[in-house]
């Protein structure tokens, strides 16, 4: 994350354990990273030492008929997805490639451990599972260097406290993930997208909601607002995706078109390319120097949030039926205030996804917790990383 100071990239779990134990014993803060593609997210970590999981790589277990795969934390996600594709399977949460958005050199989706640590999911999140929902098991090293496990390799497991969920989305501040076991799913036989021109965000979110409340199993519900475009599709337009067996997609698309007339249908590769763009927030076309936020809100309140954000000159795009609002705008504290207010009014949360470093260290990059919860955060952090060595300041100042 910081890039300065010494770097360690152990090739095995014992090496990770030793590195963390040493940092703990010596009182040295440790920046933890996978393949470094998401370093621009949240707050920069100032640490004398960086622990990279890059060398801890490789798929360790894959049973397609049980829909389970395990890989060491530093394994590139593309490698995992390629192995799955050979057996016509996939990671259902549709993890994004945000390297362009985050200006990550080398590009790509980063490591499987990093994707879990950031709990990032793509458009299919709206139909069911987030990245964290797919984590069946983790091996990890806590802040004292102990090698521990939570979960396992079976689909249903409620044995003990679910530390897999606690670590998913904790951005390396509680423990260092060393191996991930994921539930995977079958790739669909066919995919098709209904592209429906709409008047504005209110009409767009209404159309997305109509799709998501239909009995047809919509697996993507996004909107490109006026001015946004992707793969030759220009907003304002609502996008509804179906993925399933051949005959079902055929039938359901006919029914969906009857319910939401006036659109056209993209099939196969065209549909897939469009959703890759949506997944990676490409239609947002964030310009250099602009800040980017990601808001998770109550879908029906999204149009109001969009109107408020337009008022400060920001650009947006919607996914998850309106429940996910990507925002690009001026990297100023005034804009940040407006985004926080819009998220609050839409009864949701925000994440400052990228911004110049001075802004990243001077504003809350995720919402502050109420005092009782902040106290719990501190105690849970201390329960896993008692010395406070792991990724200090990554999520909040001083934590």
């Amino acid at each position: 994350m910081s890039g300065e100071g010494s770097r360690i990239a152990p090739a095995d779990e014992a090496g990770v354990s030793a590195a963390v134990a040493a940092a703990h014993a010596e009182g040295v803060p440790l920046a933890v990273e996978g393949r470094g593609t998401k370093a621009a997210m949240l707050r920069p970590v100032q640490a004398a030492r960086t622990l990279s999981l890059r060398a801890l790589s490789g798929i360790t277990f894959y049973k397609p008929e049980e829909m389970v795969i395990s890989a060491r934390a530093g394994t590139p996600l593309e490698e995992v997805e390629a192995a799955l594709a050979e057996r016509r399977q996939r990671i259902v949460a549709e993890p994004p490639d945000l390297s362009a958005l985050l200006g990550a050199t080398g590009g790509g989706k980063g490591s499987i451990g990093g994707m879990v640590a950031c709990n990032l999911s793509g458009p299919r999140r709206v139909a069911g599972f987030a990245m964290r929902d797919l984590v069946l098991g983790l091996r990890f090293v806590n802040g004292e260097g102990e090698v521990l496990r939570s979960g396992g390799r079976v689909h249903k497991n409620v044995t003990g406290l679910d530390l897999c969920k606690l670590l998913s989305g904790s951005h390396g501040t509680l423990a260092v993930i060393t191996e991930v076991t994921l539930k995977v799913g079958p790739a669909p036989e066919r995919t098709a997208t209904l592209v429906l021109p709409v008047a504005d965000e209110a009409a767009g979110v209404a159309a997305l909601s109509a799709g998501l409340t239909s009995p047809f199993g919509v697996t993507g519900a996004a909107m490109l607002p006026e001015g946004a475009s992707a793969n030759g599709i220009t907003g304002p337009v609502a996008l509804l995706r179906l993925e399933d067996v051949e005959a079902s997609v055929q039938y359901r698309m006919e029914r969906l078109r009857a319910a939401l007339p006036g659109g056209r249908v993209l099939e196969g590769d065209e549909s897939r390319a469009l959703w890759r763009a949506v997944r990676d927030a490409a239609p947002l076309a964030a310009a250099e120097g602009e800040a980017v936020w990601r808001l998770s809100v109550r879908p029906s309140l999204a149009p109001e949030a969009v109107a408020a954000l337009r008022g400060i000159g920001a650009r947006v795009m919607l996914d998850w039926g309106g429940g996910l609002v990507w925002v690009a705008g001026a990297a100023t504290s005034a804009a940040h205030e407006a985004v926080m207010e819009a998220a609050r009014r839409a009864r949701g949360t925000f994440t400052l996804f990228r911004a110049p470093d001075p802004m990243r260290v001077s504003v809350p990059v995720i919402p502050d917790e109420v005092p009782a919860l902040a106290a719990l955060s501190g105690r849970v952090k201390a329960a896993l990383d008692p010395g406070g060595r792991l990724n200090p300041g990554r999520m909040r100042a001083g934590v």
Partner: protein, 480 residues
Amino acid sequence: MIALPPPKAEVLARREEIVAGLRALVPGDGVIAEPLRLRPYETDGLSAYRQPPLAVVLPTSTEQVAGVLRFLHENGVRVVPRGAGTSLSGGALPLADAVVVGLMRMNRILDVSFPDRLAVVEAGVTNLGITKAVEGEGFFYAPDPSSQLACMIGGNVMMNSGGAHCLKYGVTANNLLGVKFVTIEGEVIEVGGGHLDAAGYDWLGLITGSEGQLGLVTEVTVRILRAAEGQRAMLAAFRSTEVAGAAVDAIMASGVIPVALEFMDKPCIHACEAFAHAGYPLDAEAMLIIEVEGSGEEQDALLARLREICERFDPISMRVAASAEESMAIWKGRKGAFGAVGRISPDYLCMDGTIPTSELPHVLRRIGEMSAACGLGVANVFHAGDGNLHPLIMFDANDPESFAKAEVFGADILKLCVEVGGCLTGEHGVGVEKRDLMGVQFTRPELQQQRRVKEAFDPEWLLNPAKVFPLEGALAPAAH
């Protein structure tokens, strides 16, 4: 037998004062302290264990729950949360010095939004009650534990309950958006809400399935889903468990994932058939119930493909339901499986391990050997798609030796589940039942890590003590 911690003498001595304090906080008939009226609360779905509590309190609001917890915390009194009391792992088993906080009077549906696909309900609303509130618009709440008529959403959240249809729709944790949650200090904390993914630590994920160790959930925001156009089941019978297991693997690898895929072994088929007259094949060693969703034509197409897969495994018989009624008949036996076993045996223990599905034939063979060795019958039902196995061990509770044997048999099955790469519990929770087996699945440092997280919420171990974690320190039973 599972040991319970020694009661705190100073709490027992102050019983009247504690009851009076509770009565001041929850007026009317919301506090129960008379021995006869405490009887219904002395056990839950694991009825082999009974222990009347110090008192029961039935709050009607989150504010009352907060007041009660603050008071009990200040007085060092242990707390046992309770929903409908259907836990099969003894999750709601009281302690002599504990106050049961029952959430059954908090049973209002607070908000339903179809455009946002969510419902906000109090913890005491039943699982099926949520679906009943939204089915008029064609919606449902997906997780469907067998006890769904009685069990409450607050308990479902605490245990991360599953059901037969979580193969497609996931378990409770995958169907929640938020909770209102009360800490042992009486602080009310709202986590999540109407949005999908929160920034910050995943409190919702940590609280779900925490078995009352971290706090009490009083309000829940659930995702509601639009139901498919219809569903239909088929039944396929095979000549061995190995062959049926291979058919399960072939179905899961085919890319057509059914919404439910249930497996029953021969003893279970016979018990269920005698009970439900569902037309189950009595000559089969194993049977699958497979359910698909969609329009009539989609169902036809999917069932044809599943038939084709099953045919490769030389089935004894197959029956595809021609109508919703025939589907219900196929399900009737499965849904009544526990009751059916209850008819042929005075008592049974329902186990709940998970195994990698490919291990099924091996595990069933070993369970058969154990059954023969200890002389107790066993019937197996299995959520085959996700590996969740429910062996029903038959015993006689009036015979202490029979019960002791049943407990040992059950523990041996769960150890076997861990040995083959699975876990102690897929959906019923650890409770008291599997508490002392935690060391089979976790190393000591792993359990200590979980204990430290628990202590971040409840440093004095007042919340649902004697569950989940093997007894240690002040909770350890006195040496004899």
